[in-house]
Symmetry: C2
DNA sequence: ACCTGAACACCGTTCAAGT
DNA sequence: ACCTGAACACCGTTCAAGT
């Protein structure tokens, strides 16, 4: 519980957003409240509303802060390396702020935030790759949809209350699957436990799917190349 | 506002879940409340808690209902057709219940719900395709992560209050981009408006990204084939 | 310009008490 | 076994009034 405001100092919009981000990183979006935020800032709940229109707008600002950490790779790189580097940079930023991920998953607002610089750069790389017209747009959607989608799913939060009990239950569920009915799951159980979507009980921060993400990038790049007829 | 309970009839867990799903389909997850649900069911708020542990558990049940609509394709299909058919079935189910999508995006709980049947079937198809061991797991994560992720992003809700004003603002933002700084976006503006992630202001229900999803499936299948060395 | 007091209209959840 | 009354501890937001 940091106190970013000096005694008697004025509250600023910037301080509000900073403290909101800190609170969310600490306790998650679920636990975040405007009144709690005001408490941490040492002000009346109404004060916050002088600096930001409402909760939704504040959360959009928090999201923008995190997305601003993404860096664009050198545009002179080969297009496929550029894509891979960009995707890794995106994933790294979100892994630094896993509790913010629900905000990105949740709202068209934030996934449409003024990231036009990145859009511009990505479109450019796709033209360099050889795509044209609708082909560029399709490739763009493939890359963004799979990349953002994968990471969003990877870092989806656990059910807030339950924790240990819930994790234990899911673990047993997987261990006790009838072998005859689920031969594949039985065979792959250890490879898949906490290392695949659906068959995990730890969130992405604790059990990152690094290999799977690299596989995704490989598949996307190869698939795009195939579409180009190379 | 349907009234699923006859006068004097007993409340059941099933009726609670059904009404919750109906309410969410009507007004969205954001607007859903336990008290509002009780009101619609014509019972005391406390009553609901006799049938379901809490809000989180209820929402998980609602999610499960929707996911139960997904059908598994004929296992005798070629593996790539099977994948494509399965992904389309998944997307169709969620397009029928767009307001439920935030629940899937949000919680590891629901994305880990007992969908073991589907997991088993998918693993089987990937072995048939020629993948082995870790290769199967990687392919599984690629398919699930990109498919679920894409649809989740496609159907992400609009900011709840703003609607028209917000949409108008985003539209103008795209229209007024400086041409010299954003040559690609200028060139692709019409192709991309409401047809690509980040550059849209309508949610996926109103402006579905059909073509982009088909492109994703094509890219994934081609990429997986390339990994198999075909 | 910035902040507070006080209020409005809500929440989720619990639990003793009723039938 | 199922439901209600009543309460606890919260919310987001507004707005007149203060400085």
């Amino acid at each position: 519980v940091t106190s970013p405001r000096e005694e008697g100092a004025r509250l600023t919009r910037d301080a509000v957003i900073t403290q909101a981000l800190a609170a969310i990183e600490r306790d998650g979006v679920e636990a975040f409240s405007m009144r709690g935020l005001a408490r941490e800032l040492g002000v009346h709940p109404g004060s916050v509303y002088w600096h930001v229109a409402d909760r939704e707008v504040l959360l959009a600002e928090v999201t923008a802060r995190v997305l601003a950490e993404i860096t664009l790779p050198d545009p002179a790189l080969p297009w496929d390396s550029w894509l891979v580097e960009y995707a890794r940079s995106y994933r790294r930023a979100l892994h630094r702020h896993p509790n913010v991920v629900p905000l990105i998953n949740y709202n068209l607002a934030s996934n449409s935030a003024s990231a036009f610089g990145a859009v511009e750069a990505l479109l450019m790389q796709l033209e360099r790759a050889g795509f044209r017209d609708q082909g560029v747009v399709d490739a763009f959607n493939v890359v963004v949809g799979s990349m953002v989608g994968f990471v969003g799913l990877e870092l989806a939060p656990l059910p807030s209350g339950s924790a240990e009990a819930w994790q234990q239950a899911r673990k047993e569920e997987l261990d006790e699957l009838p072998t005859t009915e689920f031969p594949m799951l039985t065979k792959y159980r250890t490879l898949v436990a906490n290392r695949a979507f659906v068959t995990r009980w730890l969130p992405g921060e604790e059990a990152p799917l690094d290999g799977a993400f690299e596989a995704l990038l490989d598949v996307i790049v190869r698939g795009l190349r195939a579409r180009l007829g190379g």
